[in-house]
Every structure is written in structure tokens, then in C-alpha cells.
């Protein structure tokens, strides 16, 4: 059967089309869906697109920022108020991938992809899910955990600006420069109060089937200073809760082995290699 393409003017219409057709896939940047189509993935029989311009809008009001799921990495990079996310977006693919790859698509990219999602996790992002009959908000963490079976369509993600310019940090470890995919990535939001971490958020990419929060690390950082002594207990639990894959880029052993090294470098702001 030839592939059908449905172009929808609203996200509701798109969500309805997705919920009624098991072979329907939502096309955002194309890095996942078009590749599957090109490679003869017969599970895809319908491509659903949305032309709703709100889908790719970036809106900021005060500390809260809403990013349309259809916003591309290139749009993120062009948006001055999202400067804290520029180091993340710049490490997604090459320029041509960044002009297509979307924020929403990154939430569904299989490991070791999903570095942007890891960054959003560390920023306590929530997602707005569009169903056939309406929208609802959910924490990103919940959305990621159920991404294999969720029928909804991510309309946007919302997040707070980091507490201070230096409070948000991101590292992506890859074998190839400038475009390599992740050995692992680490994102951290580290608000300081009186020189001590308070309410730290740390997230990993490529350390589990989906990007995950490093909650043991977050707990261990609470009230600590970001120096060698202060982070020691956090490093000791760095690998807690992780379940990395062995793939062509690195083995699970290697990912676990170097995780604490890269976490330390991030927390201490040490230079990368």
C-alpha cells in the first residue's frame, strides 16, 4: 500500500488522526519517521503532519517559557532568550539536522539520542499533550517513561529559566566532533543558596532506555558546596538508577565507568577534553 499523507491544520485534528490509525506516525523533523519510511518500515502507513503555526512557536512570559514541540533546534539557536539551551541545541546533529530536528521529536528519539530531552528534564519541564478531545499537562519525566505507549501528541514543553546564567550546565560526551552521538550526556540545574546547592536537578542522556533524572545525585547534592569535598557523596551514587545500553558507540560498562568522571567535571566546571 502506498503511504498516505494527512496534512492537518490543527493539532487536535492531527491527534485524532493518530488515535484512529495504528499505522499513522506524526511527522515533525523527519529524522525518525522519514528515515523509517525510506528504509521500508511497513509499520508506517500514514504520515500525519500539522501546519498549525502555533506548533513551532516559542513564547516566553516572565520566568516561564513555552516551546512548541515543532520548534527546531535551529529555532532554539536563533532565540536569544533561550541562550542557556544553545549549548545543548548546538550539539544535536549537524546544521542540516538542526534545521529539521524538533524539540518534540527529541523526546521520542531512542537512546543514545535524546540529549535535548535530558536538558529539559533537568529544567523540570512539563509537556502539554494533545489528545483527540483536548489537551493536558504532564511532567516530562512521566511522558518519557510512557513514551512507547502514549497515544497523545506533544504540543509543547514548558520550563522555567535557570535560576542564574551559570546554574544550568550541560555536557555531551561523544566520540566524533563536532557531530557525534552520545556516549552519554549530563544536564544539571544547580541553583545555589549561600554557596550551597539547593533543589538541584541532574539528568542523564544515554544512561537508560530514555533520558532519566539522577535522583540519588540530586539528593546527595542538597545543601552541599560544589567543590571536591562537597560533591564526593554525589559522585559515589552517580550510577544509581542507570541502566545504560551496550551499542556501537560504547558498552554499558564504559558508560557506567566514566559517568562519575564526567559528572565531576560538570559539577566542578572542569574543562572538557
Amino acid at each position: 500500500m502506498p503511504i498516505a499523507v494527512k496534512t492537518c491544520s490543527s493539532l487536535g485534528e492531527a491527534a485524532a488522526a493518530l488515535s484512529t490509525d495504528r499505522g499513522a506516525r506524526f511527522l515533525a523533523g523527519g529524522t525518525l519517521v522519514m528515515r523509517a519510511v525510506n528504509e521500508g518500515d511497513l509499520a508506517v502507513s500514514t504520515i500525519v503532519r500539522a501546519t498549525d503555526s502555533a506548533f513551532s512557536e516559542i513564547r516566553s512570559a516572565g520566568a516561564r517559557i513555552a516551546i512548541g514541540a515543532g520548534a527546531t533546534m535551529a529555532q532554539i539557536l536563533a532565540h536569544r532568550e533561550l541562550d542557556f539551551l544553545h549549548p545543548v541545541a548546538r550539539l544535536i546533529g549537524g546544521p542540516a539536522v538542526r534545521s529539521a530536528a524538533t524539540v518534540g521529536g527529541n523526546l521520542f528519539a531512542p537512546s543514545p539520542y535524546g540529549d535535548f530531552a535530558a536538558a529539559l528534564l533537568a529544567l523540570d519541564a512539563t509537556v502539554s499533550l494533545q489528545g483527540g478531545y483536548g489537551a493536558r499537562e504532564a511532567p516530562l519525566e512521566e511522558c518519557l517513561a510512557s513514551r512507547e505507549r502514549s497515544g497523545g501528541l506533544v504540543a509543547s514543553v514548558s520550563l522555567n529559566r535557570p535560576a542564574s546564567p551559570g546554574a544550568f550546565r550541560f555536557r555531551k560526551v561523544s566520540r566524533v566532533r563536532p557531530k557525534g552521538i552520545s556516549v552519554l550526556s549530563i544536564a544539571a540545574h544547580l541553583p545555589l543558596s549561600g554557596g550551597r546547592a539547593t533543589g538541584a536537578r541532574v539528568a542523564y542522556g544515554a544512561m537508560a532506555p530514555t533520558p532519566i533524572r539522577a535522583k540519588a545525585v540530586e539528593r546527595a547534592l542538597e545543601g552541599r558546596t560544589l567543590d571536591t569535598a562537597g560533591i564526593a557523596s554525589a559522585l559515589a551514587v552517580a550510577a544509581e538508577g542507570t541502566n545504560p545500553a551496550t551499542d556501537a558507540i560504547a558498552s554499558a560498562w564504559y558508560r557506567r565507568e566514566v559517568l562519575a568522571v564526567h559528572l565531576r567535571r560538570l559539577l566542578l566546571n572542569e574543562p572538557e577534553r
Partner: protein, 340 residues
């Protein structure tokens, strides 16, 4: 955390052409009525510059400007037999065949010119700019174009030539391995400087210095292309790529260029190259073939540099961060050797 720099070197040689002979290539050269030449080959240009180097060889041999020669590699109906482009045989084998064909064509061209100028062919020479003149008397000259017209329309001669180069068969002795595996060899020595991160096992290239001897460099820019690109591939073989990352376990093979890791443009390092030319007695104008050997010294030079930096020997390719890290842990940490 510590980063350790180290230097290592390696020296190699490389056989030119298919092992054991039985290795022929043919070429046809012919002129159109305006004195422009076509070289017909069935040899393959896969980026190494087959069309370009044989074009220069043909022009040099004919004694005409390179612009007056065009090489066609496309077609089994018009290009005579060639074994193919592999085993560093292209420049050497095909080059020799083109030389032979061009020599024969030149013979006809000079006889036709001699007839027009009413002299002996042996008294004539080409000026490399499209003219043929009497030795020592440049004013007694005729353009190659006019020779071609005369040969075609007046004298009834075909300015054309056939060439074959065959390295004859050589047997291998079953008991001793005695054989004639190649007719000439290229050589190289390369120094690699690297930096190892002893906490992650990551190895970064810092610089390379090398000397390559490859017979006469028939076109220095084509040589540079091979050496620069080949050394990059050597780095890639040394540190990055394999379709079986956990060989001999065949699982987790890469499926795309994201998973098949090779150094990106951000991973390359300065590479200073010296080219030495010891002409091959049997090569076309002394040429050998730099296309394959250029990558080979990089692999061991990098491995040796890693030893120099951290004191571990990695005997398995590719030398991934994981292999380095495992070796470091087994050794109990980096043991930098004397700086070189």
C-alpha cells in the same frame, strides 16, 4: 584527572600492484582529425585520480599539452581490458599501458609529421605545446593539428596506439613461500603525537609528521590528496572504526554514519608531510602508487604513542576509549614513559 601526551613512530613499505602478477592492463590512444587525443580505458576512477594521472602520462609521452588529451574510463565496449582499480596498481600498471599506447601513437604522429616536413622522423621532436619541429631548427615546424589533418585526409594513417602492461605470472613455492609478489615498493615513516585522558581513555590526535617515498610524484596535488586523506583514514582505523565493535562477538554492529564512528572535521590534527621520490625502474616515469600505503603507518604509530604517553600497550584495533580505560585499570593507572 590527567592528560598525558606521547609520541610514537612506525615505518612501513608497501608492494605496488597485484601480488603474484598475472596482472594486465590495456590502453588505447587515438587522435581525432584536429590533433586532440582520447585515451580509452576500462580502468576505474574511484576518486584516486585515474583519469587525471593517465592524462598527464599520455600528454608527456605524446609530447602534447595536457589539455589536448582526454581520458575516458567509462565503457567496456570501447575501453580495453584492465583488471581494475585496487592493489595500488592503477598508476603503475595502467600508467605503463598508457605510456606504451601513447608511444605507439607518437610513432605514427612523428612519421606523419616527417612526411609533411620531408625529413626523417628521427630528426623531429615535440615542443610540448602542440608543435613538432626539426631538432635544432625550431622554425621548421608543423602543428600537431596539421599533422593530424594530413594523416587523416592525405596520408591515410591512424594516429593511434595500443598498449598493454602485464606483470607475468609468478608461482608460490608451497614449502618456502618463494615468490615474486610485486615489482616495486613504496615506503613511509610517520610520527604521531597524541594526548590520552587517563580517566576516560579518550585519545586525541595532536599532530603527525611523516615522510613518504612513493616513486616519482606524477602530480604533486594528487599525491597530497592521497597522503592527507589516507592518513586521516589511518587515524580512523587506529582509534575509531569497525562494523563489529565487540569482535568476535558480532552484535551491536553500526547501521549508519552516526553509529559507524570516524573522525569528524573537528577531530583532525596538523600533519606535516615530506615526499621523497626514488623512481621505480619499471614505473611510468618512475611512479609507484601512494594510494594504499599512506594509511598504514598511522595505526602502529598511534598505538606506540599511547604507550609512550601512559605505558599501556593496546594490541587490538580499533583502540577505543574502552580498551584504553580497561588497560589503564589493569595497570593501576598511567605510567608515562620518557618524553620523546
Amino acid at each position: 584527572m590527567a592528560k598525558h601526551r606521547g609520541r610514537g613512530m612506525a615505518a612501513i613499505n608497501y608492494p605496488i600492484g597485484m601480488n603474484l602478477g598475472g596482472d594486465p592492463s590495456q590502453a588505447l590512444v587515438h587522435s581525432n582529425p584536429s590533433g586532440k587525443f582520447t585515451v580509452a580505458l576500462s580502468s576505474i576512477d574511484l576518486g584516486q585520480g585515474m583519469k587525471s594521472v593517465t592524462r598527464q602520462i599520455c600528454a608527456e609521452t605524446l609530447g602534447v599539452p595536457v589539455e589536448d588529451v582526454y581520458v575516458d574510463t567509462a565503457d567496456s565496449d570501447t575501453g580495453p581490458h584492465c583488471m581494475g582499480s585496487f592493489a595500488s596498481r592503477g598508476t603503475h600498471r595502467v600508467g605503463n599501458a598508457v605510456m606504451a599506447a601513447a608511444r605507439e601513437a607518437r610513432g605514427v604522429m612523428m612519421e606523419a609529421a616527417a612526411e609533411e616536413l620531408e625529413v626523417n622522423a628521427s630528426d623531429l621532436e615535440t615542443d610540448g605545446r602542440g608543435n613538432i619541429h626539426v631538432k635544432g631548427a625550431p622554425h621548421r615546424s608543423i602543428a600537431v593539428k596539421d599533422v593530424a589533418i594530413a594523416a587523416q585526409f592525405k596520408q591515410g594513417k591512424t594516429i593511434s596506439g595500443r598498449g598493454i602492461f602485464l606483470v607475468p605470472l609468478s608461482e608460490v613455492d608451497p614449502e618456502t613461500g618463494e615468490m615474486s609478489p610485486a615489482t616495486c615498493y613504496a615506503h613511509a615513516c610517520l610520527v604521531a603525537e597524541i594526548e590520552v585522558d587517563d580517566e576516560t581513555g579518550e585519545v586525541a590526535m595532536v599532530r603527525m609528521d611523516s615522510a613518504y617515498e612513493l616513486g616519482r610524484a606524477l602530480n604533486p596535488k594528487l599525491v597530497e590528496q592521497q597522503l592527507v586523506g589516507g592518513a586521516w583514514m589511518g587515524v580512523s582505523h587506529a582509534l575509531y572504526e569497525t562494523p563489529e565493535p565487540y569482535y568476535p562477538d558480532p552484535s551491536h554492529g553500526p547501521r549508519d554514519f552516526n553509529e559507524y564512528v570516524m573522525p569528524g572535521p573537528g577531530d583532525i590534527c596538523p600533519h606535516d608531510i615530506a615526499v621523497l621520490e626514488r623512481p621505480a625502474p619499471d614505473g611510468p616515469f618512475g611512479g609507484k602508487g601512494p594510494g594504499e600505503m599512506c594509511a598504514n603507518p598511522v595505526l602502529p604509530a598511534v598505538a606506540n604513542a599511547i604507550f609512550n604517553a601512559i605505558g599501556v600497550r593496546i594490541n587490538d584495533l580499533p583502540i577505543t576509549p574502552e580498551k584504553v580505560l580497561r588497560a589503564l585499570k589493569a595497570q593501576g593507572g598511567a605510567r608515562p614513559q620518557a618524553r620523546r
